[in-house]
Amino acid sequence: MSSLLELEELNVWFDLPRGGTLHAVQGVSLTLDRGERLGLVGESGSGKSTTVLGLLGLLPPTATLSGRCLLNGVDILAEGEETVRPHRWVDLAIVFQGAMNALNPVQTVSSQIVEALELHGLATGRQAKARVGELLESVGIPRDRGDRFPHEFSGGMRQRAAIAMALACNPSVLVADEPTTALDVMVQAQILELLDALCRDFGLALLLVTHDLPVVAQLCDRAAVMYAGEIVEQGPVEELFHDPRHPYTRLLFAATPDLYGEGVPVSIPGTPPRLDRTLEGCPFHTRCDRSFSRCKDERPVLREVAGGRSAACHLNDVPAEVA
């Protein structure tokens, strides 16, 4: 049972400016097999971005991390920055949100891709430039545009360039953190198609972070739903949609407007809990429509509820009463 990527019990705490800590990620575990596509879903503040930044060791100095991240069986987080850095980009590459200025504004796009190639010893000089041209074309950008600066690209093209750069060193895992947020709907569709095609053609595993369920439905085989820093349910996307085992999952899918459906989108009342304090009971119980007495006192544990699926909800212990 050797998955490509195994995240074990990741915990992230942030120091707060006025003292105390924020427990942003609470015991998150994930597995990703070769070529598999996993969606990490949740609302803002659920800890999904922090999780993927954590597994790449890209956290700020105010963060404290615990847990293991096994890449082909080797714990890359063992010694922190020193053990994780050699794997960046060559094994695990990341694409950030399109709205971010993830590309250095004072350098040309191709020079930034060349930097990745030269840094990891894959190519230099003319070879590197040729490779950059290939990469750009594979994402649909004309070769010669590489010598332009990022501000001369549209949002969608910048995102394509970022994807090209991420593929430069032939990683086995591509992490995409909200890759289509802040892009036009039309451009979103293009980017998603691109990701789909590239992952297929290059046999990449994809870890897709998003709050947008239709995106997960389109691209991913499996999904993990995060709430208040922990995973509350995970399993194949289809089953999550048809047979959710956690009220949050169910409400999340219900909250998504369906173009052809007759249902009225239901928004979930209330707000997520504060993570700077330890919580009593289930983090979701104040907003849950099916909570009962046990939910207030006892925190549910993520357990397997069916083949390949797990959920953290007391309702799964009550035989007849499931979602």
Partner: protein, 320 residues
Amino acid sequence: MRGADYVIKRVAFAVITVFIALVLNFALFRLAPGSAVTNLSRVPHATPETKHAIAKQFGLDKSKGEQFVIYLKQLARGNMGISFENSQPVSKNLRTALSNTLPMVGLGTLFAIVFGTLTGVIAAWRRGTTTEHVTIATALGFYAMPTHWLALMLVIIFAGVFPSGGMVDDFLIDPTWFQHVKDVLYHMTLPASTLALVLYGEYTLIVRSAMLETLGEDYILTARAKGLKPRAIVRKHALRNALLPITTLIAISLGYIVAGSILVETVFSWPGIGRAVYQAVLQRDYPMLQGAFLVLVLSVVFFNLVADLLYFKLDPRIAE
């Protein structure tokens, strides 16, 4: 040409500012009530012929409007009147003064920029550590010290080690070029150091906040994700980008440099533009004051323009 209109706009701005300065200069010195200030021909110890010549040159009997035009014409010829103090042409005095000021101020500013940038980067890099707090405290300390007071402090501390007055040793007879340069540098040490220390404080703070701003940008995170080592990231990405706000802010400090040089030259009797201003004020030498003021303003406008163009070269986004 890329961004041609940006360049044109900045040059136009500089030109208009110069014009405003000229108007201001004229207004302040020729429109004041009473003739103590306005009468350029009141040169003490001058012959009546000279006085008469000046009055004619500057059309002191004509209307104010005509005088302004004449003023501009004379300025174009480099004629700024005669100094009340040493009866020499103002422009000649100023030229000597400027050539004395530039090396001293230049040296001090250069050191301040180099060391200020160094400590600023270190402070940003070691954020939250004692090093940072000490660096900031020191920088703030130097920044808060009045320039002339710091100058006097240095005189007191280094009395006997470095000369505390003048630019050259009057007793050095017939020095070789090398001896002369050494002598000047020796005299330059304290005034340049004073300026350097005061500016260093300000620059450290500027560079630190520019670096912190830059280090919070997303492309830094990308660089880190690509596998670059921290030092390489600072060198290749952070510093290059931080140069932009740093250039702007250093340009803003030009006014501060001017004020500082006036005070430093006064304390150390350095025969530059700053001291020329001081002496002109002391001796009510209005032509000199008028000329020196103009030169100072022009220098600031010039260097600001240089900074604008530098910024333009550094930032590819300015083309729009």
